[in-house]
């Protein structure tokens, strides 16, 4: 997800341009994770449900975008398709499966949504085969933009960061200013109460689930243009998204945003800086190997540390 232009700049050079580029990459990763984590944390906060199938919704969004874009030639139509497809898939899954799980314990929820992962993944392979699909960056967003310090940065990636900020703002407005948002907040604090108040819980839950799904699908579509679109693309992102919401505090959108930016930056900067830092004290080949291993483990180490001191995350609801 984060490209390392080390070959371009040399493995030991640490110019401002490279640093800024990596920071932006971290931000971009963070924004992607936020799109996933926001949905996950909403679903858990409002419905008390842990949803492992969120990665599959990400994948569905990416596939819908790729298929539509190649059929119509328009990336933008593809994006719309991804939102619709993911939201629809989410709504269907919620009505057919998820709604039976709200009263169950977490183990049952984990297992049922794990089963959904299998169904979606293998189902997609059946439909599309195991070969990846390709999605092109739209013409309007191609090319690169000059950065302070002399480097250049992909315009598309900047656009993704922009989308993320827009979504964060939009969610904030939705939750704090609209009636739907009010119901969501009420649902988060007291599920039984809002039923007693006559609010249609069933529809609320379906809407929340579909909203989370749409965000995941959007993330998948956006990333699909950077990497290829293939089955299983959602899984590494899913795990990271869970790390995000655990760090941020399950049920808190603020936590999801903070956690996402934190994870995005730590992961990207870790992969970038750790091998270099270790190269100052260790021989180059060892530094690369140990640095790479540590970088992969880093985000989990951070999560374990945070949970050791704050067992409910940073902004526990």
């Amino acid at each position: 997800m984060a490209a390392c232009p080390c070959a371009e700049y040399g493995t030991t050079a640490l110019s401002t341009a490279l640093l800024i580029e990596q920071l932006l990459n971290g931000l971009q990763l963070g924004v992607m994770l936020f799109l996933m984590a926001a949905g996950l944390t909403l679903i858990f906060g409002v419905m008390g449900l842990i949803n492992l199938a969120h990665g599959s919704l990400y994948m569905i969004g990416a596939f819908a975008c790729a298929v539509t874009a190649s059929a119509t030639g328009s990336f933008w139509l593809g994006l719309i398709a991804s939102l619709i497809a993911a939201a629809a898939a989410g709504a269907i899954v919620e009505v057919v499966v998820i709604r039976r799980l709200y009263d169950r314990d977490h183990l049952d929820q984990v297992l049922a949504t794990f089963a959904l992962i299998l169904i979606f993944s293998e189902g997609s392979r059946w439909f599309f085969g195991s070969f990846p699909l390709y999605l092109d960056i739209p013409a309007a967003l191609q090319g690169a933009v000059p950065l302070p310090g002399g480097g250049r940065y992909q315009l598309y990636r900047l656009a993704i960061i922009g989308v993320g900020i827009a979504v964060a703002l939009g969610l904030y407005l939705l939750i704090s200013r609209t009636r739907l948002g009010m119901r969501i907040r009420a649902g988060e604090s007291d599920r039984e109460m809002i039923a007693a108040l006559g609010i249609d819980i069933q529809s609320l839950y379906t809407i929340v689930f579909a909203l989370g799904a749409a965000l995941a699908g959007l993330a998948g579509a956006l990333v699909g243009a950077l990497q290829s679109v293939q089955v299983g693309m959602g899984e590494p992102v899913l795990i990271l998204a869970f790390v995000v919401i655990v760090i941020g505090g399950i049920g808190s959108i603020k936590g999801a945003l903070t956690g996402a930016i934190l994870v995005g930056l730590i992961d990207t900067m870790g992969r970038f800086l750790l091998p270099k830092t270790l190269a100052l004290i260790l021989p180059a080949s060892q530094a690369g190997m140990i640095g790479g291993a540590l970088a992969s483990m880093l985000i989990y180490i951070v999560m374990a540390l945070i949970l050791a001191f704050r067992p409910r995350g940073l902004f526990a609801a």
Binding site: V110, F114, R125, W126, G292, A293, M297
Partner: protein, 324 residues
């Protein structure tokens, strides 16, 4: 007291023993390997069941211990083969009993800090943090080229057990079967013991346990460590079965698979893990022979079990579980 469940258990145990014996007489060693696979997966799941079935601890990171066991076997065997000592002059070995001892000991030692940190959390956080620890170990394993990195670690020959020709499928199966039966007996004893009473109370109502003066944390930690050790043993056997220790042994799919085995068979049941393993491998083998997309059907079956048949296979065969 002979209940329906006892009879079903006996049938399952004998069936598992019979399959390889029959297979050998028919000259089909492949089915012996299949039965061994079932046995080892069941052993891993019995380990998890100590934490999950008895203690109610949903560990989504038990693959970590499965993998550690496997790599213990692989690393020790590799060093024995290259005649290079590991560190501090400790040499490799190809003796299974020693390998198992190391696998169990290392898993116990690793489970202690993981458990100590994870058990400070509850609910979803516990599930996530156990997953995180397993992921840490997974990434560590694939980044360590000395032991194969992403490609995994081969064992050129199967390790040795005194008086047994382990290279042959049937004797190796019998070793694994013995280990599984011992583990099931251990589970039975644990469940009926004072420790088991405290552990199951921790699952049912931890406030009550604390109110009578037993610290739930301590009980759970011991259960977690014991559970890790048994799963680690299974990992060591698995590496010997395939003559290969793969990083996928650490993956979260493996952790999920272990939980699935328990649920398919029946959570908290003595023979649940074995019944689940048999069902799982059956689905994999039969459906896998028909289509490459067999996991789709596994998912559907799993979903069906979770939604409609919560007692698993043993629930269907032996009726509702009887409690003390």
């Amino acid at each position: 007291m002979i209940t329906r469940e006892t009879i079903v258990n006996a049938v399952i145990a004998l069936l598992l023993l019979a399959i390889p014996l029959v297979a050998m007489t028919l000259g089909e060693p492949f089915y012996v390997t299949l039965a061994t696979r079932i046995t080892i997966l069941a052993l891993a799941a019995v380990g998890l069941n100590i934490a999950l079935g008895l203690g109610g601890l949903v560990s989504f990171g038990h693959a970590a211990f499965f993998g550690i066991g496997g790599y213990a076997a692989g690393i020790l065997a590799t060093h024995a083969f290259n005649a290079e000592p590991l560190f501090l002059g400790i040499e490799g070995t190809t003796s299974m009993p020693w390998i198992w001892l190391v696998a169990i000991a290392v898993c116990g030692l690793v489970a202690l800090p993981i458990g100590a940190i994870s058990l400070r959390t509850t609910g979803v956080y516990f599930i996530m943090i156990t997953l995180a620890f397993a992921q840490m170990i997974y990434y560590f394993a694939i980044s360590w080229p000395a032991y194969g990195g992403e490609d995994g670690l081969s064992l050129s020959v199967r390790n040795l057990f005194p008086f047994v020709s382990t290279a042959k499928p049937l004797p190796f199966f019998l070793i694994c079967y013995g280990a599984l039966m011992l583990a099931i007996i251990l589970f039975l004893l644990l469940r009926g013991s004072r420790f088991g009473a405290a552990l199951q109370t921790a699952r049912q109502n931890e406030t009550r346990l604390a109110a009578i003066g037993i610290a739930p944390f301590n009980i759970r930690l011991v259960a977690f460590v014991l559970s890790a050790m048994v799963t680690g043993l299974a990992g060591a056997l698995f590496a010997d079965l395939n003559r290969f220790a793969s990083p996928s042994m650490f993956s979260w799919h493996m952790s999920g698979e272990l939980i699935v085995l328990i649920i398919l068979g029946g959570k908290g049941r003595l023979f649940g893990p074995l019944a689940g393993a048999m069902l799982y491998v059956l689905i994999e083998h039969v459906l896998g022979g028909i289509t490459e997309r067999w996991q789709l059907f596994l998912g559907l079956i799993l979903l069906g079990v979770v939604l409609f048949a919560r007692g698993g296979l043993l629930g269907l065969l032996a009726g509702k579980a009887r409690h003390g």
